[in-house]
Symmetry: D2
Subunit: 364 residues, 4 copies
């Protein structure tokens, strides 16, 4: 496959540019018999879509998804599922000034060099708008995982610049525009974002995403370990520069006697490993963290150059998120869901005893 | 593919267990005409192999690699390359005590649950011994990258527990048994390791790996971005729990005005991005960091359970590395080389103008 | 990948059912810079589409293709190309009688058993209507192959039931509704088809498809030989039951002294091999033949059974082609184009000297 | 993957040249728990190996396979299985005369042009010797298919040049050196082969291969249909120029009323389809036929050319099979087994109700 597909047995392939006609994707390998409607996807699409709060870009897209195939009489048929979202609020004129200039910190330069040309409108294919289809496909995976296996996935903003969540109250996540699990920090967040917008700058973020109810046994050593494939999927989200599983970089200063999760028939005593041992899910929650860089689309001037090779001082106009990390929460959930779904199917292929929610040996 | 292969156009597939007959791999897709001898691989194999210093396991393996196919009259033929390393110093009796017990923090439990059985001798397939073949395959990629494209890869130990490299002097890396770039810390490292061995404990580490001379344009958006595939390859190394590209988790508290790499016809002013923009190499050095957990194979007792479901207090005997991070340096280099090689070939497939070391536009 | 994709570096993934909302496909890996408009695809779509002659089904579909992404300012960008054809003339009521009955010789029974359900309207995903997207994707490959490498592909109906082409005049192919290269047989064909329609029966056919100008060196031994991948692609066309390369089944009674193509610096003396030696293109025309079975959708009654397990005597109503072989000509061309395109890119990946139209050694 | 692998969930990757050190393969994706010894593979290897009758090449190879990994205490572990066969009877000096000359009808010319070089000893990688590993891997698939699902595969020589099997008595196949199912023709075959050897010529052949007990539902439309993947696997065998499923090219002159297999709750009334409908197995025997060309390695002189571009008259010395079709019987069986195994696992991935040997609906 050539870059626009992910997965082996549950394969998601996407197309579409920020300011093109439409975005779309094909889901190949979804098991038959799953009840599926556009509503199942629309909820997550709405969580990701722009224009819903003052903390995100002002671009207004309905992001209404259509199911074009693969569903009959309300259920998946086992054949390929075609999904489509039409673009409605492209304002390509906003981008005419970047036609000949490379925005620093953006993919403009690398796309131009790789392909010898680029669709410069809104970043074209490199725009985070492309991730809408991942969210739609991820919602299908989420539904299957939950309905058939009781696996639940949730993500939240763990840190926005200097502001960290001191407590994690999952019931708070959907109650605020930040997907933030610590309600005591909402005012600080609001204030920080106002300041940021005033200064025309942007800020990085850290997201945590986790899956509960994952059966033991998912992951294919040695290269397609569950954690390796999660790292692949999460690092593939726009602006992500780091991925951790479980304790992540915290292990660097850990001793073996501290970091191992002790076991007993009652279960694991801790979850430093983030639910993955030897690349295979352990039955504990799968936990990952990602770091998202601040967008380079800011109104603070910065040196850049033109396609013709001239130096320019550049300000990025247009409508942008001051913290791309916020809207990335549903994207991260979607990617984790897609990876788990793919590995569930891969595990089934090789192992007749499909899934061990109640391990034969050990933990109750 | 089913887990034991990596790559799409440069494909490496491995087999072999810690205490089996032999380890082996097949490299499929290596361009024809590359001069290749066992010496090209032996150097890196020797850097990884056990028993070379008092800081690593006492197991002694010559790790002599044999080329079984794909090379004729000293050059690769374009057909699949078969490589083999025979195991010579298996002491399987050392492991009989873990036959019925799951070592905490190890893959024993997850392999048993996934497959319903496991080769318990030395961890079987989950042993880091498997990575010897990755190092051999990576050496082939390294040679091609250097010879044909001038790409050079080096890795070093950036941190061992509490001890960090304050300066990075690449000439020091091969001068000490730690692959450490800061000679002023060697005594501290030695002392720390002695204390560790005395206490029977182990420690985590951080490794940096980088590639210089990478042409602009490698990486296939949107899922097979160069950074995503690097994350996949590095997270797939035993004990790795975190991967960073460029500034990594440092971006969380960065502002957009700080983190973007400004550009001019003279080049980029900085490399926060770690050589990747929009998933495509920018022509700057590709830089990644990984966190390796301390091995759980320690002589400090810890609670665990048996295959029969009984609780036990366990001490791991056998020969183990107190810091698995040290020997992981050549493994990380190998994985980066394999990913770059694969992406070089993938890029060539789609783009006739093979590789842009001197970009058409822009930087000199 | 999970069945709805073909290719490795030039990947085509399709979705859509006969009576669904739309058909679509994603082309991933098309090189950047190719001029592409809907007209480039529409010509072949029109050759395949139903309702254009009295010899094919009366269903009327405009088969107008839309480009949704991957093309900017008239040229491909190197990113994934989304294509869409909306269904307009679905008459699903025609098919309500097959909801509960398996048509003999059709995929109704196997889809039902495989997935536990099926979209019965017009055969759903198993309908030859799905091949419209293959034709569209094939047209993109055809254009690239011709424009960049001078490779030309043509197919024709070599035999329809008892009527064979005695002479092959390529200029005749597009002059008649049968894609038949022997103008002296057109009346016989017309008469035969009238008789067939009167009897309510259908007939098999043989198609020849060939590519000229193929450079030497395409094909990846040992499993992805060019001929093996052509066989895969052509056998994957609905109703195909046999594939031949070059002399095909004629080799069974050949002697080695008859069947080998003698060589000299002036070229090959013959082309028994059909342009492939050892799975690699030889520089001669690549020639393949396929056998297409008569459709089972006929008004001659035949025993079948219902989903409930009862025996029934069945007549297939609806609008059907009495010889599906006719419209399969552009499909076969498309599949050959897709395979050649994919192998061209795969060959490039591994070999720096891109393509040898003028072999270094040998033939002028 | 880059040509030397086949399968998606049951993946076989091979290496090795005719006169290299050894042949080997990796089987990735074999389910755990299968009892496996070298004897399981040796039987089929012995059926294929040279030097066992006067009708095949005089090269003597023990073809003793070693299991290097993936099997523990007599059972597969679910990890990758490494297999090795050492070459023992290479007489490379026999081939020094073809170093600079392309044998007509062989892969010498295309390998040279593709890769710019070639291992000329015995055809290197293009030699049928490579198929030994396919037979070994196929034997693993065969054992699993039979033991777990009751699927049995057998192949036979249906035609050798002008001599066809008039009756098919499966009990005869293993009773003669031809794998011929019609004992009344053995004398004629012997006589024919003697004449052939005297004349220094070779002859083509037709092989039939079939699988019984295949459950309904295997095959992934639309591109990875079971018949398409069988065609890929069989056309990928050295010297194969044609593949048929069921009635094959016989369908060209068939009418729909003749060719469809009528159905009733008692089963199908016939098997024109060869066990595949819409690319999915129907529960009937899967039947395929292949045409193998006569080897071009004959002592009848033929025009060729040298690497330097000179015309020569050439006689191929060395030890060769006058009918390569004979020894191809176990190879064809192996390839069919590998495809069925892969599709069994792929089907399992998507469908929880693993395999329907007793279809829910319909046939008893």
């Amino acid at each position: 496959m050539s870059g626009n597909s992910i997965g082996q047995n549950f394969v998601v392939t996407t197309f579409g540019e920020s300011h093109g006609v439409a975005l779309g994707c094909i889901i190949d390998g979804c098991p038959p018999g799953l009840e599926l409607t556009v509503e199942d996807m629309q909820h997550d699409l709405d969580r990701r879509r722009p224009g819903t709060s003052r903390y995100t870009t002002a671009r207004r897209e309905a992001d209404e998804v259509k199911i074009l195939s693969g569903v009959f009489e309300g259920k998946t048929t086992g054949t390929s599922i075609g999904l489509l979202i039409e673009n409605t609020d492209q304002r390509s004129q906003d981008y005419s000034d970047i036609k000949d200039t490379f925005r620093p910190g953006h993919a403009d330069y690398t796309y131009q060099q790789k392909y010898g040309m680029r669709d410069y409108r809104g970043g074209g294919r490199s725009s985070a708008r492309e991730t809408a289809m991942r969210v739609a496909a991820g919602a299908v995976a989420k539904k299957y995982l939950k309905q058939v296996h009781g696996i639940e996935i949730h993500g939240y903003l763990a840190q926005l610049g200097p502001i960290t969540a001191d407590t994690v109250d999952l019931t708070q996540i959907e109650q605020n525009a930040f997907f933030f699990p610590d309600a005591t920090k909402l005012e600080a967040l609001d204030e920080y974002m106002r300041g940021l917008r005033k200064s025309g700058d942007s800020i990085g973020a850290k997201i945590t995403v986790a899956a509960k109810g994952v059966p033991v046994g998912l992951g294919e050593p040695v290269f397609d370990r569950l954690d390796a494939d999660i790292a692949h999927a999460l690092m593939g989200i726009n602006a992500v520069k780091g991925v951790e599983i479980g304790d992540g970089f915290g292990v660097v200063t850990q001793k073996g006697s501290e970091g191992r999760d002790l076991m007993s028939p009652e279960g694991f005593a801790s979850n430093h490993a983030g639910g993955v041992l030897g690349g295979i899910s352990s039955g504990q929650p799968v936990v990952a963290h990602i770091a998202l860089k601040p967008t380079s689309s800011i109104s603070v001037p910065g040196q850049s150059m033109t396609v013709q090779g001239d130096t320019v001082d550049m300000i990025t106009k247009g409508r942008h998120d001051p913290c791309v990390g916020i809207r990335a929460v549903p994207i991260a959930e979607a990617m984790l869901a897609i990876v788990l779904m793919d590995h569930l199917l891969r595990h089934r292929a090789q192992n007749q005893d499909v899934v061990r929610h109640t391990p034969e040996i050990g933990m109750r």
